[in-house]
């Protein structure tokens, strides 16, 4: 049985087998087994709060929302996907929107595209929550949807403005809907997030972020060449406990790194959330900088 010392979340008295990732907690202590999860939540909340202290308290660091914003009244930042959609309608926006999109694209080009998904995106909180519940309730794994679906959806999202002349996706895009709900009190769109939660929980595992979201798809494409990657530096120590597979939102990226020749997780689907680093008692994974590593090897 579990020692139940530091985890307050665990309330189900009937859970007879070992708590998830117990090995890592025993081996490394609670903090190191949750470090990146904690930092990630902190980052997601920080971004949200930087936006929110404007409308809530009148402290204007960031105005607008994730679709487009202004940092300190000067630097424009905008979502590349919505900017592309606007361009596809044939409307030429003000330079602020274009520069903003370029700055954001550049940032994720360097930091790793789906860093957005795990460290910034608010929908990630919802889908991670569904996935956590799924694990707690031990819901059966259902049929996998094809992973390429999000790229079809991305193509569709960019094609529809061309055909209809309106940025159709923005009606239902859950990423800004959640932000608008919190910053502008437009809560009636939250039904879409409820749908995503239910979809992820009962119908298909990680359905939204792992298979559908076109924002995630675009960022995955953007982050292909990014220097920052998670790497199975210590793959030989892997004891096949499968904890990382259990927790990874894109578990198909793990096997090539663990069992292949290149320990680096090069698949751009990896959200660089670092949960695999957390839950591995053997400390198999680490964040690595590809460029620095190459330079080192060449010396």
């Amino acid at each position: 049985m579990t020692n139940g010392m530091s985890n307050t979340k665990m309330k189900t008295p009937g859970a007879a087998q070992t708590r998830f990732a117990q090995a890592a907690i025993d081996e490394l202590g609670w903090w190191r087994a949750h470090k990146f999860l904690f930092l990630r939540r902190a980052s997601q909340l920080c971004v949200l709060l930087t936006f929110a202290i404007g409308p809530w308290m009148g402290l204007w660091v960031l105005k607008g929302n994730l679709s487009s914003s202004e940092l300190l009244g000067t630097v424009p930042l905008s979502d590349p996907l919505v900017t592309l959609q606007v361009l596809m309608t044939g409307h030429l926006p003000e330079t602020a929107l274009l520069v903003g999109a370029l700055l954001i694209a550049l940032f994720y080009l360097l930091a790793g595209g789906r860093v957005f998904c795990s460290w910034v995106c608010p929908v990630n909180l919802v889908t991670d929550c569904a996935s956590w519940l799924r694990r707690k309730l031990r819901l059966p794994r259902t049929a996998e949807m094809p992973r390429g679906l999000r790229y079809y959806l991305l193509a569709l999202v960019l094609l529809l403005p061309l055909v209809t002349g309106i940025t159709v996706w923005e009606w239902v895009n859950p990423v800004p809907i959640l932000y608008r709900a919190l910053l502008f009190g437009a809560g009636s769109g939250l039904w879409i997030l409820a749908m995503i939660f239910l979809l992820d929980l009962f119908i298909s595992e990680r359905a939204w972020c792992g298979h559908l979201c076109p924002t995630g798809a675009l960022f995955a494409l953007l982050g292909k060449a990014s220097p920052v990657k998670v790497s199975a530096v210590n793959a030989s120590a892997c004891d096949n406990c499968m904890d990382c597979f259990e927790v990874c939102p894109e578990r198909q990226v793990l096997k090539p790194a663990l069992k292949g020749d290149n320990p680096m997780i090069v698949d751009s689907d990896c959200t660089q959330c670092g949960r695999c680093i957390d839950v591995c008692a053997q400390r198999v994974f680490q964040y690595q900088n590809r460029i620095a590593l190459k330079a080192e090897n060449n010396q």
Partner: protein, 243 residues
């Protein structure tokens, strides 16, 4: 790391399966696209009472351009603008205002337009008096106090373009036969649609309302030849027609 790579044989994609998946995904996407477009098209008809911020492009172009960031909303010092919610009249996430609640105060520097990164609020608008947010229409002559022969004049007096966008037209009061009526009359060429008149109307439900231009304005048909009345009258006289 040094384990056998059992995977490498399964790597080649089964082509038929791939094509089948592609076809299925294509169909699903097509349906989804239809659905989402349908929703979008249907709710892209602007609620007649929701007025766009100054400088807004025509509704269709506005919906292409606006990224729903809310920068205009946050730039407005009077809390005039709101972002539409789902199931409300205006398309979700786009800015609008309800004149009866908070009208536009016609800021001289037009901060809402300046803040808009997408140009859905046209940056070419630099003089707020040229804004066309909508057109005020005195919609209910029955209840308007001035039409009853009283001197309310509130809408007339609050108009930032007093005696230009809104005038009082003097007319003989046939009911009492020796009084005058002063009928508030909107000049649709200069009215900016700020909505101060609607906001200020003393009735419980405003008798004067700002409507989007496409609802408020009529349109002359292109084939209409009776535009120049003087010429037309002369023509008719010359043809020997009785008036």
């Amino acid at each position: 790391m040094s384990q056998v790579n059992r995977n490498s044989k399964a790597k080649g994609v089964n082509r038929r399966q791939f094509l089948a998946t592609t076809a299925r995904a294509g169909c699903a996407m097509g349906l989804l696209g239809l659905g989402v477009s349908g929703v979008a098209k249907q709710s892209s008809h602007l609620d007649p009472m929701a007025i766009r911020p100054p400088g807004a492009l025509d509704e269709q172009d506005f919906l292409s351009a606006c990224v729903r960031c809310g920068l205009c909303v946050q730039a407005c010092p009077y809390d005039t603008l709101k972002l539409a919610r789902w199931f409300e009249g205006a398309p979700t996430g786009t800015p609008y205002f309800t004149a009866r609640t908070v009208p536009c105060e016609m800021c001289e520097d037009i901060p809402c337009v300046k803040a808009c990164p997408s140009g859905s609020l046209d940056h070419a608008l630099t003089n707020i008096d040229e804004a066309k947010m909508g057109i005020a229409v005195l919609i209910d002559e029955k209840n308007c106090l001035n039409f009853k022969g009283l001197r309310c004049d509130v809408c007339y007096r609050v108009c930032p373009l007093i005696d230009n966008a809104i005038t009082l037209e003097r007319q003989h009061n046939q009911r009492s036969d020796h009084h005058a009526m002063f009928l508030p009359t909107v000049n649709s060429d200069t009215c900016t649609g700020c909505g101060k008149c609607e906001h200020a109307c003393v009735l419980e439900e405003a008798a004067i309302k700002v409507l989007p231009a496409h609802i408020a304005l009529g349109k002359t048909a292109t084939h209409d030849t009776y535009i120049n009345t003087e010429e037309t009258t002369l023509e008719m006289l010359n043809k020997g027609l009785t008036l």
